[in-house]
Symmetry: C2
Subunit: 365 residues, 2 copies
């Protein structure tokens, strides 16, 4: 921890990106007495409803400089921010996490290489830069664009080299990664905070269930062996440490049929699978990010309730009225005006006592 | 509950007053997907950091009309808003709670009369409008201005009619109330929400400890007999019902040496003694106000942790760094730039399991 925090309460946190993650970060910052300024090219970005804001493209250097002049420290709520923007901002103000974590997380190839260096196991993977790269790989496999994939976009499941070449053409023949398909038992994630002095605090490992490539449910804690959860936290911490990251690192992993952890991907920012911490922990992932970024000591991430979090995606948000009427649910809506298929518009969390195992089947009747 | 809520998520709540109560209301509204617009004459009012805002005097009718045009419903975060402003706003948009609750709460004489009509016991009281009104009263007593008193301001303890007349002169000979001094065991408060359909939901009754007339500590729950707490909630509910109030009503009471409840004062807004609900309940008083105001069903006010809340007043806020470093505390700062004696600048809450009695002496070492 910084002896004197980098930014005292009353100071301003610059948030690059104005989506729901930025919005919830701004709300947590306000509770601690910090102001926020959001930068997003979308004038209607939902975080702008709760903070001062600028509207500009991320490659508008003059706008970045004006933004930097008005804030005391910069953080980022989405991982596909141009690294050049973060590097420019870092000329003027501290950027936490720094550009390096984003550079690695934005490209699946160095990301996977990095994960192996840290000690994670990974599915088999190889870079795809030419048609011949599909030869001799193990199938079935998943072809993923190296950059700009999220929520299942930019991915294709393939059964052979021939299918791979066709899928690659459909993906525009951009640089890709071919990953061996994991016969996994479940998907889990670990979110860890790292402070400037190297202190690490991990939230409990959770299970994630996806639907059509988008996170649907998070179950906290993940029903996995404590030793496996501890290993996931230790590896996530090793990754954060090696990155020298100040802020949050979220790591998504598979647990295979043998119970082994396999790295999937990581993001140096708050993560959808951490939304349960708003009510499930004394301090949420958003408060933890704010603390790391301004240089306050990290909060205690201990779980105070078990939880199931469900995303409200597209039309699912139309159930808000029924969800708001259930006194056992905590409803969160993100202030997005337009309902679109696949768009994350809110989430809802059901809490359970610590001695009750959450049942995702009955959580949202 | 309204079958269709008055205001759907995405709509805008107008908040008259931009202090910390408005700020925390705006944060709760944002979590539910509502926008807020704050009206305050102070351009630096802290709620303006987290919401859209207007700066105008409360008697500026044109400004009130412009404000009303930009919001869907109006609420109020302080009770001394001019009733004429609320009546004007009510011409254009629903005002919740309505002007009547404020009119009564702003004047200690009709407030006490109202409390007695509802069934509360009160200390003996009489109106002071002339020097002779001090004759024949019981002493010691407290002389209070009928209007605009808060945090112990506009009050004097007096031992005789002669002292009373001198104190009255010092208070500017404004209309006052003379109240018999209560030899109380403790002070408690009840906060209750009332929905448009008459549904009532009370938070647990808490104990309040004041220092120099300003709330210092709140202990949740109050260590009083369950029947007494239930009586306090029932009476607060009767008051809210009789007012036809939609929103929150906070009632401060004394518990005398015989264990009887005596009405002290009430406020139709979020209350400092309810700040513990942010972490201590699944839904805070601020979320509950938002729900009542927009017409969502009220949330479950059940306590999920015991708590002691301490206000950070004046120089006390300088301890923020130490308080932020204690992982068992939840620190809240209000974004006020200037530290002044007697000014509420933040609060801090310590949580306890439901089976542990909070000890205010050891809560903030």
């Amino acid at each position: 921890m910084d002896a004197e925090p980098l930014v005292a309460p009353g100071g301003c946190i610059g948030i690059v990106g104005g989506g729901q993650l930025g919005r919830m970060t701004a709300l947590a910052a306000a509770a601690l007495g910090y102001r926020c300024r959001v930068l997003d090219r979308d004038p209607l970005a939902p975080a702008k409803q709760v903070a001062a804001h600028d509207t500009a493209d991320y490659d508008d250097m003059a706008a970045l400089e004006r933004f930097a002049a008005k804030v005391d420290v910069v953080t980022c709520e989405f991982e596909n921010v141009p690294v050049a923007a973060l590097e420019a901002l870092a000329l003027w103000k501290p950027v936490r996490p720094g550009p390096r974590a984003f550079a690695i997380a934005q490209d699946r190839l160095p990301e996977k290489d990095f994960a192996r260096e840290v000690g994670f196991a990974t599915p088999p993977y190889r870079a795809i830069a030419a048609e011949s790269d599909f030869d001799g790989a193990a199938y079935p496999a998943i072809l993923k664009t190296r950059r700009l994939g999220y929520d299942g976009k930019g991915q294709a499941r393939i059964a052979s080299a021939e299918e791979g070449r066709a899928a690659w053409t459909r993906l525009g023949r951009v640089p890709c990664l071919l990953e061996g398909l994991v016969d996994f038992e479940r998907e889990v994630s670990a979110i860890i905070a790292r402070a400037a002095d190297g202190a690490l605090r991990a939230f409990d490992v959770v299970e994630n269930r996806h639907r059509q490539g988008i996170l649907d449910l998070t179950i906290a804690p993940a029903p996995i062996a404590p030793a496996r959860a501890a290993e996931a936290q230790r590896l996530a911490g090793a990754a954060a440490q090696r990155l020298g990251l100040v802020g949050l690192l979220a790591v998504e992993m598979f647990v295979d049929r043998q119970g082994r952890l396999l790295f999937n991907e990581m993001a140096p920012r708050p993560h959808n699978s951490g939304h349960w911490t708003i009510e499930g922990c004394t301090a949420s992932q958003f408060e933890q990010l704010v603390r790391a970024v301004v240089g306050l000591p990290l909060a205690d991430p201990a779980r105070r309730a078990n939880a199931v979090m469900k995303n409200l995606i597209g039309d699912e948000v139309r159930a808000w009225s029924r969800l708001a009427a259930d006194p056992a649910l905590k409803l969160h809506l993100y202030g997005k005006a337009e309902i679109r298929a696949g768009r994350k518009l809110g989430h809802v969390t059901r809490l359970y006592p610590l001695d009750v195992t959450p049942d995702p089947r009955s959580a949202f009747p």
